[in-house]
């Protein structure tokens, strides 16, 4: 917040176009998945710089990470930002789920009295909101023409100066973009890992030797296998994605995990071979499942494709889970 701008529709809060330490901290927390479901800004009209009535109006979602990306991209410019109520969800997902819609945009246009704030009748919408916003409906509801802006906020400046070009109309999935989603994959995967570690502790009670040391040895083997699976599926898989030889996420995840699975007998030479086969298979299962879940973080998988893969992958993974447990117990009873 950086003061207010007085308009015929009332005072409009002005936001800074450079991040504070607090913004950066919130950004990190959201990217780590710590409180990203409650990381919001209030819907409504905001000002960047010192916008006049003919300054452009940029529409966005009320996920704070999204809002921050937009306002920082507008640094050095004078513009209005109209924030719609997407319940703290990013533009694309909110469009897909119906909360970023023509009605939602129209509601904020009316609430802000935008027709008295600006002299033009033009809203710049993020391209990725078009799966939820029927552009012509915005005009019907508000009299404002909805113009399709760029996909990425970083292209806003170029868009405002030169208009659209092909490069700003296509989604990308670069190494850095894939790296940015690794932390949240790890944090979300961690909940599953904790449940698995608890289950592994129970399974480790079954064995020829019941001394605490022996139980712990069995548990640490299962825990290492699980951790290897998570690291393979949540770090190696996303980063190597364009180089993997198969399009099946689950198969590629399983294949990648063969390497850490084969390393397990080197790290744990003493358990019987069925136990090592079991935990190796488990590493591949965890990695395959984590990789399959990564479909939700990519910008190119279709629901039809994901569902088709899941129908084949989930029974297979359920089977390999059962087989892992049987091998693990069988090995520990030898």
């Amino acid at each position: 917040m950086d003061g207010f701008i007085t308009t015929p529709s009332g005072r409009v809060p002005r936001v800074k176009a450079h991040p504070t330490l607090w913004d950066r901290l919130g950004d990190c927390r959201a990217r780590l998945g710590l409180d990203r479901n409650n990381y919001t800004v209030n819907p409504g009209l905001y000002a960047v710089g010192d916008p006049s009535p003919d300054a452009p109006v940029v529409v966005t979602a009320n996920y704070k990470l999204t809002f921050d990306t937009v306002r920082f991209a507008l640094r050095g410019r004078n513009a209005w930002i109209l924030v719609t109520d997407t319940r703290g969800i990013n533009v694309w997902c909110a469009g897909g789920k119906g909360s970023f819609s023509a009605e939602a945009v129209a509601l904020q246009v009316r609430k802000a009295g935008l027709d008295r704030v600006v002299s033009h009748r033009r809203l710049i919408l993020p391209q990725l909101s078009a799966n939820g916003v029927r552009l012509r409906d915005v005009r019907k509801a508000t009299g404002f023409e909805a113009v399709l802006g760029p996909i990425r906020a970083e292209d806003l400046s170029r868009f405002l100066d030169q208009g659209p070009d092909d490069a700003m109309r296509e989604v990308t999935f670069t190494f850095m973009e894939r790296l940015a989603v690794v932390p949240v994959e790890l944090v979300l995967g961690w909940k599953m890992v904790l449940a698995v570690l608890a289950a592994a502790a129970v399974l480790s009670l079954i064995g020829t030797e019941l001394a605490l040391g022996a139980v712990f040895q069995r548990w640490i083997l299962a825990a290492t296998a699980t951790l290897f699976g998570l690291l393979s599926g949540a770090i190696a898989f996303p980063l190597l994605l364009p180089r993997l030889p198969t399009r099946l996420f689950s198969l590629a995840g399983a294949g990648l995990a063969a390497i850490p699975a084969l390393a397990l007998p080197l790290l744990f030479p003493s358990p019987a071979w069925p136990a090592l086969v079991g935990v190796g298979l488990w590493t591949m299962t965890v990695s395959a499942w984590t990789a399959l879940n990564f479909t939700g973080s990519t910008p190119y998988t279709s629901p039809s494709g994901v569902e088709k893969e899941m129908r084949a992958a989930i029974p297979t993974l359920a089977g390999s889970t059962v087989l892992s447990v049987i091998c693990f117990i069988w090995g520990n009873l030898q």
Partner: protein
């Protein structure tokens, strides 16, 4: 995005050239450059890149494009398999 493709021949994208009025909206909204404008009509140039986001179908003024839209993520699809009443949430 030419480097990234998931499964082939699964997208529900359907296009009726006769209904197309050549407004070019499908070309503008598509984040995967599936459409291209040829002789005042839209044409599908890369069907396999379609991720079924639904932007083209929603914005087409003549319903020349149809697609069953949805969110392509595993946890969301699992939630749609579960009994109704549990509200799907992800992203």
């Amino acid at each position: 995005m030419k480097r990234f493709h998931h499964l082939q021949n699964v997208a529900t994208l359907a296009y009726d050239r006769d209904k197309c009025v050549g407004c070019g909206l499908c070309i503008a909204v598509c984040p995967h450059r599936v459409f291209v404008l040829k002789k005042d009509k839209a044409e599908i140039q890369d069907r396999e890149a379609c991720m079924e986001c639904g932007a083209c179908a929603l914005n087409c003024p003549t319903e020349a494009v149809a697609v069953t839209p949805g969110v392509g993520c595993a946890s969301y699809i699992i939630q749609t398999w579960l009994p109704k009443g549990t509200t799907p949430q992800c992203c």
